[in-house]
């Protein structure tokens, strides 16, 4: 389940719904990672663009990977503006086993950061400024420039 929302996430409602949906499914461990916008460098908030077709295929590959370990992944992300101290991202793992869950949440969140087709902008003075310095080139970038 990949859920995209316009603006900030209602974190308690999402965490509760996921918990209750999986309660009968005999997973011993549920680990959500919640990402919240920090007040820093004078930003008013962050803004996100998402390219959904490739995000969906990235997510389906992770569903398969989790499934192979008897686990399940879910995700919620904001599109557009999210103000400081609001949340823009929840990634969660359900697994029968503790070790699988702890290892999977780490890999899943890190791969999300490195690969998911989402672009972040600082909101300063009501303008969107691409967060270039904090961004990561997707593996294989530069193909058309012959520099890879």
């Amino acid at each position: 389940m990949l859920e995209l929302y316009k603006g900030a996430l209602d974190v308690p409602v999402i965490l509760k719904r996921w918990y209750e949906e999986e309660a009968p499914n005999n997973y011993g461990a549920y680990i959500p990672f919640v990402g919240t916008v920090r007040a820093e460098d004078g930003i008013e908030g962050l803004s996100f663009d998402i390219y959904e077709p490739i995000l969906q295929s990235w997510f389906r590959a992770w569903e398969q990977k989790a499934n192979d370990k008897g686990a399940k992944v879910v995700m919620a992300h904001s599109i557009g503006d999210v103000m400081v101290h609001e949340s823009s991202y929840i990634a969660a793992v359900f697994s029968p086993k503790r070790r699988v869950a702890l290892e999977l949440i780490d890999e899943y969140v890190e791969d999300f950061k490195a690969s998911a087709p989402i672009w972040k902008y600082d909101i300063i003075d009501n303008k969107r400024i691409y967060a270039k310095e904090r961004s990561t080139q997707i593996k294989g970038s530069g193909l058309l420039g012959g520099i890879q």
Partner: protein, 73 residues
Amino acid sequence: MVRVEFLGPIQKEPLNIEANTLSDVAKILSQDEELKEWIATSAVAVNDMLVSSLDIPLKDGDKISLLPPVCGG
């Protein structure tokens, strides 16, 4: 004719160009000075699949996307 789309912060309208391979696309895009930095740092998808080779044959109607550096979360 293939369509080239520029995602995220690359503020550029889609282009429709004649190209038989990604090498052709690379040649055409590299003539645009504004795109130089984006080309050097962007990943490439053909019909929403990320690709890692310039030899991909293209057919009429294919969609090529440029994905600049990402930062979700």
